[in-house]
Subunit: 277 residues, 2 copies
Amino acid sequence: MTATTGKTRNTGLGILGPDQTDLLKEVDGVFTAWAAEAGAREILPPSLYRISDLQKFDVYRNFPHMAFVAGPLDVEDGPPDPVDGAFAPNDLERPSFGLPHATCYGAYLYYEGQAVSPTTTVTLLNRCFRREERYEELRRVLGFQLREIVAIGTFEHTQEVIERFGERTEKFARELEIDLRKVASADPFFENDGSRALFQRLSPVKYEFQVGELAVASVNTHRNFFGERCSITVEGVGGNAYTSCIGFGLERWLAVLDDRFDGDLRRALEAVRDLST
Amino acid sequence: MTATTGKTRNTGLGILGPDQTDLLKEVDGVFTAWAAEAGAREILPPSLYRISDLQKFDVYRNFPHMAFVAGPLDVEDGPPDPVDGAFAPNDLERPSFGLPHATCYGAYLYYEGQAVSPTTTVTLLNRCFRREERYEELRRVLGFQLREIVAIGTFEHTQEVIERFGERTEKFARELEIDLRKVASADPFFENDGSRALFQRLSPVKYEFQVGELAVASVNTHRNFFGERCSITVEGVGGNAYTSCIGFGLERWLAVLDDRFDGDLRRALEAVRDLST
């Protein structure tokens, strides 16, 4: 059985078929179960944010080249017509919504202005949107699904969480006989020159797990950058919370499992199920 | 325990907390299990469509007042700055992506150009985006989650599917002691004058299940409109496929269960779990 994706046309906007969907949900269930075992609960973020919320994270200063924004059509003078599959910019009212390019923003906004337990861990799934030069089925998707486990609290807690789930990720891959490499990395977000200082400040630890050249998981620590920006404090400790996260690109795990099991997604599903019970 | 939604500020862009998330996923699991029992498999649509794909369904002709569209920022002459939480329309490149306002579009695009079994049933979940005069926490959400079960094939099949799941919905509500009313309705999509003829053509059967004034499920038959637009044919029958769907607004079920269980979402979760086993 070969994996097929309906209607992708290499635009990064494919519809996943039944076998792909079952496997993606199973793999996501594995990561979610890890989080639950560690006492993390799940929260559910929206697909659009107010631009003013994303501005808190310097999104439009540091990553404007990646950003998608959204707004309603301006129908005041009659509905505009798309031409060649696109509207004109002036067909829109002022776009005040931003599509996120990382899932964890939802966690910081959820706890905004609150004092949290020193060992807070949550998990959440969102679509993440990044403008790219090119898209590729499953491997580089315009609105990919990123499951994150996010630690918020003391610095020690944030380091323990990413260490634990990093090891768990390596074990998971090993058991599936997937060759995973741990690679220190600069976040592509921060590669443009002006942001190097920011990168140093944000990411004393940043690495990826790669299969071949494909990053399937990303581990980040942000010191107290997000804690400051969202005024999150730590109960009984004081000061702004430290944060870290590990993110799993679900379509990429699908691509990797498709390769590993020679396109037999049902066998891949069984293999993942056998591990996760 | 009172339901709380983080950071909604009545913009329809709330983040669901852990108890809400658990309950929403449980309820979604009930609808998904119904679909699976009926032999339906799940597919996974994207959050953005090409505008040219949504044009196939006359989206921008009939519902421009509801439409959100998206595009990348134009960074050619340096990144634009948002002012008062919004970009200027001209800060965007030509918006060529549309946010869907119904989940079932993904099913028709998935089967585009194919011959399907006369009794095809699939289920899918997506975020749906509708511009509204006002939003209200859980009850009128800018990007709400709509689980749909979609029938594609013969007219008889499409009628059997909505009848079966309509009855199942009524039984589910009855068992939870939720007072559900079946109400014939015009789709709000089709209320603007020019579209009445279209409404008649598309929806010989259209009704909603309401709790109080709140529609929590919507049942539609489209004759062969979508089958035509996506060139879907029926194996061994010929002609374009007929379609129908039933959709469940997940945040609204959360609102209704919150009311029914006086804000005790954990008790609501147990009640739903007891039924679904």
